[in-house]
Amino acid sequence: MLNFTIRRLVMAVPTVIIISLLIFLLLDLAPGDPTAQLPLTIPLEVRDEIRLALGLGDPVIVRYFKWLQMMLVNEPLHALEQVTGWNVAPDTQRILSWQSRSPVGDIIAQRIPQTLWVVGMGYLFGILIALPIGIISAYKQYSWFDQLGTFIAMVGFSVPVFFTGVVLILVFSVWLGWFPSMYDTTLRVTDWDSFMRQVRQMVLPVSVLALFNAAQISRFMRASMLDNLNMDYVRTARAKGLRERTVVMVHVLRNSMIPVVTVIALGVPSVFSGAIITETIFRVNGLGALLINAIYANDIPMIQTLTFIFAVLIVLFNLIADVIYGILDPRIRYD
C-alpha cells in the first residue's frame, strides 16, 4: 500500500509538470490583456510600460521557468517561513498578481478560510443530507420516499445554481429578512453572538451548495446501496438474526460506502476550487471568486497559480481516492 502510494506519487510528478506547462502555455496564448481593465484614458504608451513592468517582455519559455521556480521553490519556502517563522526564504522572488501586485500565495491563503467554510460546509452538508437519502431510497426502492428523493435530487441537479441562489436571496433576505444576502469575510467568531451571525450568513450559500452536492451524492449512494442490498452476505447477516437496522447500517452501508467515499474524495478538489457562481451571488470572496475575478482582469499569474494548485489537488485526490479505496476495501492490495 505504502509502496503503491509512493509509486503513484512519483509518477504524479511528471504529470503535474506537464500540466503546469500546458496551463502556462494555454493561459499565455489566451487573448486578453492585463491593461484592458484600465480606463481608456490611460494612453497606450503608458500601457506598454505597464506591460513591460509586469514582465510580459520576456519570452514565454523564460517566464515559464521563472514561474515554475517560484511556484515550486519560492512559494513553498515562503509558506514555510510564514508558518514556522524560520528565515528560509530571504528575499526570494515570489509570484505577483498583476492586479494587486502582491504575492498570489498570500492572497490565496487569505481566501482559503471562507472557501472552506462555505464551500466546504456546502459539501459536508451535501454529504450529510445525501447519505441518509441515498440509503433510505435504496432500501425502500420505488417507495414514495424514493420517488420523492429521486425527484428532488434531480431538481437539485438540474436547476442552475444562479437561479436557486437568487430565489433564496429574494425570499430569505429581501422578503423575510432572515439572513444577510452578503457574506462578510471580516467577521471574527469570538462569542455566541458573532457565531450566530456567522451561521446566519452561511445559511443561504451553504444550502444552495448542499442541495446541489446532495443531489449528486445521493444518487451514487442509492446506486451503491442497491448493488449491495442483493449480495449474499446480506442474506447471511439476516440469517444470523441481526436486526434489520444492523444489517443495513452495518453490513450493507460499510460496503456501499467504498465507492461513495472515493467519489466524495474525488469531489474534494472542487471544494478548494470554490464554487464560482455561488460565491459571486452571495459575495463570498473565496477562491472561486478570486479565479473568476482574475480571469476577467487577465491576471495571468493568479490564474496560472490557481489552476495549477487545482490541478495538483486533482492529481492528489485521485491518488487519495485510490488509497482510500484500498484502505476501505480489505480485498484490494496494490502491489
Binding site: D232, A239, K240, G241, H251, R331
Partner: protein, 345 residues
C-alpha cells in the same frame, strides 16, 4: 415413525410464490416435511426445484416483495413460526436455526473481519461482552478446524481459502448452538478434496453437538455419504422421501430413478452411455394441477396430465412418493389408495 421423537421442525403444506413482471412464480407448492432431533435430512433436486426457497421461507429470509408465503404451517418449538412477528423470527434465526449458504466466496461480508462476523450472533443472541465473545469465536474456529484460531479472527474473509471460508460459515452458524442447522449446498462450490474435509467435519460435529441438519445438495454422492433421510424435490414439490438406503436401493419416482442413473461413478461399473433426462425443467407459472414431471417422464400417462399426484406411502416405513406410477402394482397406483395414504411429512 422410525423413531418416536417429536420432530423439532415440522413443515406442512408450505406454499411460496414470487410476484414478478412476467407473472407469478409458484416456487414452492405444498411442501411438507419434518425433521427429528439429531437427524440429517438430505434434500436433492435439480436447479430451480425450490430447495433453497423452501428453506428460506421457513424463517422469513426471502425478500418480500417479491416473495410471499401463501400458506402452510411451520411448527418449531411448539408454535407456528410463519405467524411469528419479525422480532420473534429474528430471535430464532441464528439462535435456534443456523444457516449455511452455498457460496462461501460471497456469503461473508468482505469488509469485516472474520472474528467480527462470528461474534455478531454471539453478542446479539447471547448478550456476550466483546471479550467473552472473542474467546468463544476462537473456540468455534478451533472447533471447525482452523489452526491458529485466535490470530485468524483478525483476518478478512479474502485471506481465507474457499474451504476455510466455508468452515467460518459453519462456525458462525454453530455459534449459538442452534437446534436446527440448514445447510444450503455448502460444498457445491468446493473442490472434491475440500468437500471431503467439510463432510468429515460435519459428521464429526453432528456426533459432538447432535443438532438436526437439513442438507441441500445436487450431489447424490454427498447425500449417500452423510444423510439419514432424503427428500427429492422437483418443480417446487416433494416427489419422494425415504431413508437414505431405501431411496438408493428402491427409488420409486421416475425422476429419482433417472437422477440416480444419470450420474456416473468413479467406482464400480462404467456405463457405456450415460442416461439422460430429456427436456427442460418445468415452468412454475401457476399452481400445478398436473404432474410437473410428466413431459420428461417415460412412465407418463393420461392421468398425469389431469391430476397432480399426492404423496403416498410406499415400500419401507418412512418412504413416500408422489407419483401415479407404481412399479410394484399394476403399473398405476389404485385411485382409492392415494387419498388414504397421503402423508404429511
Amino acid at each position: 415413525m422410525l423413531n418416536g421423537d417429536a420432530p423439532v421442525l415440522d413443515v406442512r403444506d408450505l406454499k411460496t410464490v414470487f410476484r414478478t413482471r412476467g407473472g407469478e412464480v409458484h416456487a414452492v407448492n405444498s411442501v411438507s416435511f419434518h425433521l427429528r432431533p439429531g437427524e440429517l435430512l438430505g434434500v436433492v433436486g435439480e436447479s430451480g426445484s425450490g430447495k433453497s426457497v423452501t428453506m428460506m421461507s421457513l424463517i422469513g429470509l426471502l425478500p418480500s416483495p417479491p416473495a410471499e408465503v401463501r400458506g402452510g404451517q411451520v411448527m418449531f418449538g411448539g408454535r407456528d413460526i410463519l405467524k411469528a412477528s419479525a422480532g420473534e423470527l429474528r430471535r430464532l434465526r441464528g439462535r435456534e436455526i443456523g444457516f449455511i449458504f452455498q457460496d462461501p466466496m460471497t456469503s461473508l461480508n468482505p469488509v469485516f473481519t472474520v472474528g467480527f462476523q462470528i461474534m455478531e450472533p454471539l453478542r446479539k443472541h447471547m448478550g456476550m461482552r466483546p471479550e467473552a465473545a472473542r474467546v468463544r469465536a476462537a473456540e468455534l474456529l478451533d472447533l471447525v478446524g482452523i489452526p491458529d484460531a485466535r490470530k485468524r479472527l483478525k483476518d478478512f474473509p479474502h485471506q481465507f481459502s474457499g474451504g476455510m471460508r466455508q468452515r467460518v460459515m459453519i462456525a458462525m452458524a454453530l455459534a449459538c448452538d442452534p437446534k436446527v442447522l440448514i445447510a444450503d449446498e455448502p460444498t457445491t462450490a468446493l473442490d472434491v478434496t475440500i468437500q471431503a474435509q467439510i463432510l468429515e467435519l460435519v459428521k464429526d460435529l453432528r456426533k459432538k453437538l447432535g443438532m438436526a441438519i437439513v442438507w441441500i445438495t445436487h450431489d447424490l454422492g454427498v447425500i449417500a455419504g452423510i444423510a439419514d433421510r432424503v427428500m427429492v424435490m422437483y418443480g417446487g414439490q416433494v416427489v419422494e422421501q425415504a431413508p437414505v438406503r431405501a431411496l438408493f436401493a428402491d427409488p420409486r419416482h421416475p425422476y429419482t430413478r433417472a437422477l440416480l442413473q444419470t450420474v456416473p461413478s468413479v467406482r464400480g461399473e462404467r456405463a457405456p452411455k450415460l442416461k439422460v433426462i430429456e427436456g427442460q425443467p418445468p415452468l412454475l407459472g401457476a399452481h400445478p394441477t398436473a404432474c410437473p414431471f410428466r413431459f420428461r417422464c417415460d412412465k407418463a400417462h393420461d392421468r398425469c396430465g389431469r391430476e397432480n399426484p399426492q404423496r403416498r406411502v410406499v415400500g419401507a416405513p418412512g418412504h413416500d412418493v408422489a407419483c401415479h406410477w407404481d412399479p410394484d402394482g399394476a403399473g398405476l397406483a389404485a385411485a382409492g389408495l392415494t387419498s388414504e395414504g397421503v402423508v404429511n411429512g
